[in-house]
Subunit: 411 residues, 2 copies
């Protein structure tokens, strides 16, 4: 069975083609600059030449049309015909409180995604364009949506509510939603397998650290708390996002530099984090290089990133009471050994003991590794994440009618 | 030696008179509604009748003048003559980065406090009025200022910096300052005594939970991290303040309800916290009563307050690596057993084990008690705070020329 996964932004689309009988991604691709004068597509099918070219995609529809053309192309493609595609799985960043799991797209679902646009004005419109384009181009193929926020809907109210006027929640849905849910679901299932435990019994702390970064406390296999909030701005120090800070900073800076609240918000999302502290770098490799060369801002930025992760690990240990494993995933989590080291040092008092050598050896992004010491009560794993696999899994399960809470199913 | 301590707000003044030879507060008083049509004063001297009356104080000067009159009054007072007063200690909420310790007031000090007004627009102007009034009324008596923020100036940069554009810090001093420093200093010294350790060697987590509430991580006797930030808004769930939340909530609510950033800020400071969640209560006694009667909002508010404290305990254990004791202080910390219980339950994994019965027995605000189990690696103390005593101590030490870093001195 062939499944296509699509992750559409307002001007971009990432996609993968899965041969589900083999559980294998047979093609990976990326379209950029949809709607601009020159668009760009990069397509890599298994054992085939890479297709990398400039094209013109005025809307998502032309982009999806071209994706179908290239993946069925004899030289660059991976499947015979577009009729081979049995379903399309779409990634949705913000499902609000409406979605607690993946669903087959219906008119009602489209309406719900639209209703949640105020919560994710930068993301949901692009997702909708992607789904509608797919429905136009592949009218007979079912579509499934996989929401980043669905995973987090098991949080207890004490974890997801803010201490703000109650009617901000009842009237305007102001609460913690959480993101990176698909990654947390995947790594939770893998961690349970590595621990040899039923997913229902695992307590975990997962650090998904990429450009965006968030952490999740997992209790009995499901989400109990997370570091991102109403939006992906809160929590950890990220590439260009500030993470947590005194909310009063916004008013203070709005007055100090005569900025609008939107301008301050943009600065916190785009000019803060590692970029803000170093003044120049987003990528941890650059920050590390700078730090090793003695650049004080780089040393500080790295220290802040590690310290913030460490403190959230502590807070989640307190929240969970018992933790089977701490997991690192995503670009930085899988590859940046110095960040893991800085975050894990000194946590022995809570039963978390890293093995320095094992940590140093885990950086390929290609293997699941254990980096805790043998006598560490809490295990520490590095697990490469695979959000597209979850999208394909959910899509297949919904198609086959055996979709269920993730703790209840195995493939 | 007689010392007067003054804690002036923009329209109020709390004061105490100390007989320093006996280390004893011999008078406690409060002036309210300075500048309004009818002001109010309450004065209670040791073994004397309470004076409680409406008066008229157009400015702080008349208020201080009247305080001197009443404390030297034969029926209501505690000292013979205003000449007995050897120094006045003033509380200052925000000393910015300028003040790392208490100082004798000079013109330069007044200027520095004034320069820090933008950081504490609601507090520092009142403090300045109080000092100037005292200088007018008692021109020959030295004044000392004790800053809430001074204690926190030992924080490492990774703890006090935010991941925002660097120039927000260099140009506008945007960083974490911390508050309740005088209380943290006092409880640190008491905890060291209770532990039988040199203050230089203690690692502590202190929860100062009153109407305002913040926590402090103490490493080797000095501040390492804290939960309040640029202002006292951040961190714990408070009576009417939100504590931490996704900073993006401000922009979202500004748009949703067409509020200015100042209006959102005011809502977060005055209509949030327990008041926001319950819709009606600030006082924990009311919240507890409501919760016991089954009011869902009260149950949630209480759960949120406890859960937030618990998570910060965890984050500070991670930050410190080793913790000798957890300390509860201020109104709620000293008396609200259910809040302590909710915050401490389930922390055994990090060596913090409460004794339920001991916890239940500690609620008088009159004794230092230990509420941890005998086999708890980390001790848990309830320590009634005494900020005025620290103000008097610092004032005397500065007067005597033996003031020093607090870890170096004993009285
Ligand atoms: N070898 C490496 N060492 C350290 N950091 C790395 C390495 N490779 C990638 N990274 C970090 O991973 C980040 C990207 O992670 P990724 O999970 O792909 O991000 P996202 O999906 O959020 O865009 C880069 O910004 C970089 O900082
Ligand atoms: N017996 C009690 N049980 C529970 N909470 C109490 C009790 N007494 C006082 N409190 C709480 O203490 C708070 C005041 O604490 P305090 O330290 O005096 O506050 P402030 O920050 O104003 O100095 C009250 O709002 C109330 O919630």
């Amino acid at each position: 069975m062939i499944i296509l996964t699509l992750n559409c932004g307002s001007s971009s689309a990432k996609y993968q083609v899965f041969d589900w009988d083999k559980r294998e991604a047979i093609c990976v691709g990326l379209v950029e600059r949809i709607g601009e004068d020159v668009s760009h597509i990069e397509n890599e099918s298994k054992d085939k030449e890479v297709y990398d070219a400039q094209e013109y995609f005025p809307t998502h529809k032309e982009a999806v049309e071209f994706i179908l053309k290239i993946i069925t192309d004899e030289t660059y493609g991976c499947i015979q015909s577009r009729d081979d595609i049995k379903a399309v799985g779409h990634r949705i960043v913000h499902g609000g409180e409406t979605f607690t799991k993946s669903v087959v797209v219906t008119d009602a679902v489209l309406k719900d995604i639209e209703d949640n646009i105020p919560l994710a004005p930068l993301h949901n419109p692009g997702h909708l364009m992607g789904i509608k384009a797919t429905m136009d181009v592949l009218p007979k193929v079912p579509n499934v949506t996989v929401m980043d926020t669905a995973w987090h809907q098991t949080m207890p109210e004490k974890a997801f509510r803010y201490a703000v006027p109650k009617q901000w929640y009842t009237d305007h849905k102001v609460r913690k939603y959480g993101f990176h849910g698909t990654s947390f679901l995947y790594t939770t299932k893998r961690a349970a397998a590595l621990l040899g435990k039923d997913p229902k019994d695992v307590n975990l702390i997962i650090a998904h650290v990429g450009n965006g970064a968030s952490m999740c406390a997992v209790k009995n296999g499901v989400c109990y708390d997370t570091t991102m909030g109403l939006t992906p701005l809160d929590g950890l120090v990220m590439g260009s996002r500030s993470g947590t800070l005194d909310p009063a900073v916004i008013r203070y800076m709005a007055h100090k530099e005569s900025m609008t609240v939107d301008e301050v918000d943009t600065a916190l999302n785009k000019k803060s984090g590692l970029l803000g502290v170093t003044g120049k770098y987003i990528d941890r490799r650059d920050v590390l290089k700078g730090a090793l060369e003695g650049d004080k801002d780089c040393i500080l930025a790295n220290d802040m990133e590690c310290y913030r992760i460490k403190k959230y690990i502590g807070s989640f240990v307190a929240a969970l009471g018992r933790v089977d494993a701490v997991i690192f995933t995503a670009g930085v989590g899988e590859m940046a050994r110095h960040v893991r080291k800085g975050a894990l040092e000194g946590l022995e008092v809570m039963g978390i003991k890293m093995d320095e050598r094992r940590n140093e050896l885990s950086f390929t992004q290609r293997a699941e590794t254990i980096i805790s010491a043998d006598d560490s009560p809490t295990k520490i794993f590095v697990i490469p994440t695979d959000e597209e696999l979850v999208m394909a899994e959910d899509t297949v399960a919904l198609l086959n009618g055996n979709y269920d809470v993730h703790t209840n199913f195995e493939y």
